[in-house]
């Protein structure tokens, strides 16, 4: 609410500014002011912006360039020497990195599930399913927990001698090594990630619903549309932008905020089956002392994120236009 309700007046600022006097042109009135304050006043906007810009440039943009540059140099004995695409070649030859990339593919496949669950739940909550307020606040709650806390909790629940297996056992189902089986572990980690983050997407969807024209829904209802028709023909097209936003942010979340879960739940194992690029970067940098190789992996991660973002925006823009 606090930030959201400013939206209608956003236009005002720029429109009203056109003929606006004073603030932005202190120099014009400088004659009437004591000279000492003049310079400071004129540069005031820059002085106000400078710290933020400096920090962002020095600790974000500059390191990005530095890192890309660094990825073309060698590690260890070859420290600082140019090696061309050597690091990249080594990366693609590394079984662990290939697994990490394959897992990115898995994430892309699971992405629709991770978007559909919060989307559907938000639809029910928006249409005021009985108890909608309760559901809203309960569903959102895991989203505020740290990934390591979530990971630690699920370490307890999924332990071989833990509660989940105990429940299965009481139904006569044999114990499963949830985090120790290379074929299962990655699905468990992704599942827990979805469990922990669907509330975030839910809230974003609900914010999208707030912009939906209620008259459209009423019209559809009067025409006798079923729930499924309402969702498909009214809600999905109207929320195209929100859906697009959730797709992109969910994918980025999967690529950049699963470190805590991986670190606590599996440490990349069993048999390296739960590696993701971000985990690989950390291992190469922190454990293997291969910073240049890690930089190459970082650059690839950055490229993946750019491609994913642009591709999704493009695809979804097209589907939005067809409607």
């Amino acid at each position: 609410m606090p930030i959201g309700n400013t939206q209608p007046s956003v236009r005002l600022a720029s429109a009203g500014r056109a003929g606006g006097p004073a603030v932005t042109s202190p120099a014009h009135r400088g004659g009437a002011r004591p000279r000492g304050g003049l310079g400071a006043e004129r540069y005031a906007p820059y002085i106000l912006v400078a710290p933020a810009v400096l920090i962002i440039v020095l600790l974000r943009l500059y390191p990005l360039i530095l890192g890309v540059n660094f990825s073309f140099t060698g590690d260890g004995d070859q420290n600082g020497e140019a090696v061309g695409f050597g690091n990249y070649q080594e990366l693609f030859g590394d079984q662990l990195f290939r697994t990490a990339l394959r897992n990115v593919g898995l994430l892309v496949l699971l992405l629709p599930v991770a978007v559909a669950i919060p989307g559907l739940l938000a639809t029910f909550i928006y249409l005021r399913v009985p108890g909608h307020r309760f559901y809203r606040s309960v569903y959102f709650f895991p989203a505020v927990l740290s990934p390591v806390i979530v990971g630690a909790i699920f370490n307890l629940l999924l332990a071989f001698d833990g509660p989940l297996n105990a429940v299965l056992g009481s139904f006569g189902v044999g114990a499963v090594d949830w985090l120790g089986d290379p074929d299962i572990a990655m699905f468990m980690v992704v599942g827990v990630h979805i469990w922990a983050t669907f509330g975030m997407a839910l809230v974003v969807f609900l914010a999208g619903f707030a912009t939906l024209d209620a008259a459209l829904l009423d019209a559809a209802r009067v025409d006798g549309a079923s729930l499924r028709q309402v969702v498909w023909h009214v809600i999905v097209p109207s929320l195209a932008r929100t859906i697009q936003f959730v797709f992109v942010t969910t994918m980025i979340g999967m690529l950049t905020s699963m470190f805590g879960l991986l670190f606590v739940m599996t440490s990349g194992g069993p048999e390296g089956s739960t590696y993701l690029p971000e985990y690989y970067i950390w291992i190469q940098q922190g454990q293997m002392n291969r910073p240049a190789l890690a930089s190459a992996a970082s650059t690839i991660l950055f490229v993946i994120m750019l491609v994913v973002g642009l591709l999704q925006i493009k695809l979804l823009d097209r589907s939005g236009k067809e409607d």
């Binding site: 609410m1 106000l48 108890g131 559901y135 959102f140 927990l145 509330g199 809230v203 910073p291 973002g309």
Partner: protein, 275 residues
């Protein structure tokens, strides 16, 4: 029609099950944290009847969670205050003042939004080591500020755009300097946005693992979340103490959520609708 309504009510079953799946893991952990080790081994699910607070105090002292708690508190508080100060200054200038290069500077700040920490981690660790900031409070604070500043500037700029420029003009005519306008008008007017963005930044910094792990290598400088990661090895054979440590780290966030639920959700929503 009637059938549709019945189906609507039947939705309560899956939705309640999901709600249960959402809160049960934490309730389970809280219950285990208060059990004795023997109780846990005998029965994982029964309600604790001992209310065994000893686990909590063991985790707080022997596992060092108390010390990590203080580290987190200092780093997060200072990071968030700095974020709010720098973010509101830049947001005010970028939205209400006209000056050469302002849109370029705004785009420069936004560009930071698209660069995740993992991508700049290696060079950043090197920069921090070269400037002797690694393993210090100011180092981690700077990293947090750099990480969350683009988002903060973005939201503060959007918020301040909604404030009519006439207010600034009037304050100027009354003889305020630009800084005076910032301090006397913009800072107080920005309170709702500062609150939202402050809460979100607090959660982000408090919950972070990777940046703290990379920037704070020595054991005594660990933050609370890094403390949680080290609990596992330490108490793998004493699950109730392990659960207590997890609970200690989770409780502050749960309290914040309980009281500020709306503001957190609004902050997230604002971040998305402005995109």
């Amino acid at each position: 029609m009637r059938r549709a309504r019945l189906g609507w009510w039947l939705l309560a079953i899956p939705m309640s099950l999901l709600a249960l799946a959402t809160i049960y893991p934490l309730l389970f952990t809280a219950n285990v944290a208060l059990k004795t080790r023997r109780e846990y081994i005998l029965d994982r699910f029964s309600l604790t009847d001992s209310l065994n607070w000893a686990n909590i105090s063991t985790a707080w002292t022997s596992a060092g969670m108390g010390r990590y708690f203080v580290n987190s508190l200092v780093v997060v508080t200072l990071s968030v205050l700095l974020l709010l100060l720098l973010g509101s200054m830049a947001g005010f200038a970028l939205s209400q003042l006209r000056f050469r290069g302002s849109s370029a500077l705004f785009l420069g700040c936004l560009a930071g939004l698209f660069i995740p920490f993992q991508v700049v981690m290696v060079p950043l660790a090197r920069i921090m080591a070269d400037t002797a900031l690694i393993d210090t409070y100011p180092g981690l604070i700077l990293v947090y500020v750099a990480q969350f500043l683009p988002f903060t500037v973005f939201l503060m700029t959007s918020y301040y755009r909604g404030i009519p420029p006439e207010i600034v003009d009037a304050a100027r005519i009354d003889g305020n300097t630009v800084y005076g306008v910032y301090r006397r008008i913009m800072l107080p007017l920005g309170t709702p946005a500062l609150l939202s963005v402050g809460i979100l930044n607090t959660l982000f910094c408090w919950n972070d693992v990777l940046m703290a792990l990379v920037m704070m290598p020595s054991a005594e400088n660990r933050t609370l979340m890094i403390g949680v990661t080290s609990l596992r090895g330490q108490y793998s054979d004493n699950i109730p103490t392990f659960a207590s440590g997890v609970l200690i780290a989770a409780i502050p966030v749960l309290l914040v959520y309980l009281f500020l639920q709306r503001q957190i959700a609004d902050g997230v929503a604002a971040g998305s609708t402005k995109g």
